[in-house]
């Protein structure tokens, strides 16, 4: 018996090489080639939100039956767009909780929540979150108290977190981040509180301990982040 765990542990040491980048940038660029997955918030970088899958048709849509049901734990607006990758569904629950579900059964694999998000103030919109972004083996979420948090996709452990803006000044994040090549773009909520919006792009993982904005544009009406936008396909 003693040998088995050692063998298993030894095989664990190989993990970093065995597990390739789960959702690479290239994979998101070609998202339309794998319609069984939903790799980014709007389905692909063109943001058509269209699925070419043909299993559900106008003829059979009335006869659909639930396969599983997952009950969210918090109260608030449930506005998430789930990301679906390799048998796992990643979604957010209000106010700021990320849950990974087994796609086959709806059973939770892990969940992570940010207690501080409960204390976050919002003006003109309720406690909600629209979803996560995924790049390689990391899940990214913006929090109601205005942080960007990176989570290990397999365990939900925090990889890093960084303050995007101050919630006390009316800033908040409800939008799903957008993952592009090596960068994570986040937008800001809080126009009702009179804040000036902006987009930030963060290094997705290279500076894992102290991510810094790749650039910040704070001119009214300008929603462009130089290089990342240029790198965006389409």
């Amino acid at each position: 018996m003693k040998l088995i765990p050692r063998l298993f542990a030894a095989s664990c040491l190989l993990i970093p090489t065995l597990v390739s980048a789960q959702v690479s940038y290239e994979r998101i660029v070609k998202a339309e080639s794998e319609p069984g997955h939903w790799l980014t918030y709007s389905g692909n970088y063109q943001a058509h939100r269209f699925s070419p899958l043909k299993q559900i048709t106008p003829e059979n849509v009335a006869k659909l039956k639930p396969v599983w049901v997952y009950q969210i734990s918090g109260r608030g607006r449930f506005e998430t767009s789930p990301i679906v990758v390799d048998g796992v569904m990643y979604l957010t629950e209000p106010p700021t909780k990320v849950t990974a579900l087994d796609l086959r059964t709806g059973r939770p694999l892990w969940s992570w929540q940010r207690p501080a998000a409960r204390l976050a103030r919002t003006l003109g919109f309720g406690p909600t979150n629209r979803g996560v972004a995924m790049l390689d083996d990391t899940v990214y979420v913006g929090t109601l108290d205005c942080y960007l948090v990176a989570l290990d996709a397999k365990s939900g452990t925090v990889r890093w977190e960084t303050k995007v803006a101050d919630n006390k000044t009316g800033h908040s994040i409800t939008a799903a981040p957008l993952a592009i090549d090596g960068k994570i773009i986040v937008g800001i909520s809080g126009g009702e509180a009179g804040i000036r919006g902006f987009l930030d792009a963060y290094d997705a993982g290279a500076s894992i301990l102290s991510p810094v904005p790749a650039s910040r544009v704070m001119k009214p009406g300008v929603a462009i982040v130089g290089r990342p936008a240029a790198a965006r396909p389409g």
């Binding site: 993990i15 390799d86 087994d102 397999k154």
Partner: protein, 260 residues
């Protein structure tokens, strides 16, 4: 109506006084009587010591014999924490205790805070070198770095006692945390998969296999399901560390308290 109002007011006042009297009885800042401390100790031994150790020295749960506690700023917060637990952690809420009993436990816990902390023999800085050299990061995450197959160790020093950490390093099977049970399933078509149980209900099972992939099974499709209690995927470091390396490693792990 006026008469009723006049009658009602004294009743309200009497009620308010009764409430004030009852909260004064449970005033957390008042010095607990000897019998309350004794009762608090007995409750602590019955409900809390399994994880937090007799006299709060820690174990599976953090040590509580210190003047300040991680999750609570004051006695009222400690009272509330005991009553409701910590969501998302292994600390349950103790709803079965009365408020008075919880205050007695709070009083006892505060008396433990005057106990001197145990000084560890090892050097935490050297322990970090041992951690890196022995490849612990191949399975564990500390402050975001490493692989997430084993438990996150970012705040393990705040959650586990040094004695528990020592046992976990030397004899990992004796201290397998929740969520890390090894299961082995054989499907009806003859496929065998071994991994860490992530979730299980009456009808389904989800695990993470050796390649850290999630796999989902319906029990109806399984020929065999084996659970390896008391076995850890982590190897024992009994023979892989010198005594000094072990002491340094424990000191390093104990120093990981989740601060940024």
């Amino acid at each position: 109506m006026k008469t009723i109002g006049h009658l009602f007011l004294p009743l309200l006042l009497a009620g308010a006084l009764a409430v004030a009297h009852s909260s004064r009885e449970q005033d957390p800042s008042s010095k607990p009587a000897a019998e309350d401390l004794e009762r608090g100790k007995r409750l602590f031994v019955g409900y809390c010591a399994l994880c937090h150790g007799i006299e709060g020295t820690g174990g599976r749960g953090p040590s509580l014999n210190q003047p300040t506690l991680r999750h609570v700023a004051n006695d009222a917060a400690l009272f509330q924490l005991i009553k409701t637990g910590i969501e998302g952690s292994e600390m349950p809420g103790f709803w079965q205790m009365t408020d008075r009993e919880i205050w007695q436990v709070v009083g006892y816990l505060r008396s433990l805070g005057r106990t001197a902390a145990v000084k560890l023999a090892g050097d935490a800085a050297k322990g970090r070198t041992v951690y890196d050299a022995k490849g612990c990061a191949a399975c564990h995450i500390v402050r975001g770095q490493g692989a997430g197959l084993g438990p996150d160790l970012t705040d393990v020093g705040a959650r586990r006692s040094p004695a528990y950490l020592r046992e976990a390093v030397l004899e990992p099977g004796a201290a397998v945390p929740e969520g890390f049970l090894i299961v082995s399933v054989t499907t009806r078509d003859g496929r065998t998969v071994r991994g860490l149980r992530v979730n299980e209900d009456s009808f389904t099972l989800q695990l993470r296999d050796a390649a850290n992939r999630f796999q989902s099974f319906r029990k109806l499709d399984l020929k065999e399901l084996k659970k390896e209690f008391g076995v850890s995927t982590m190897p024992s470091y009994q023979t892989l560390l010198t005594d000094a390396e072990l002491e340094d490693l424990i000191a390093y792990l104990a120093s990981l308290r989740g601060e940024k």
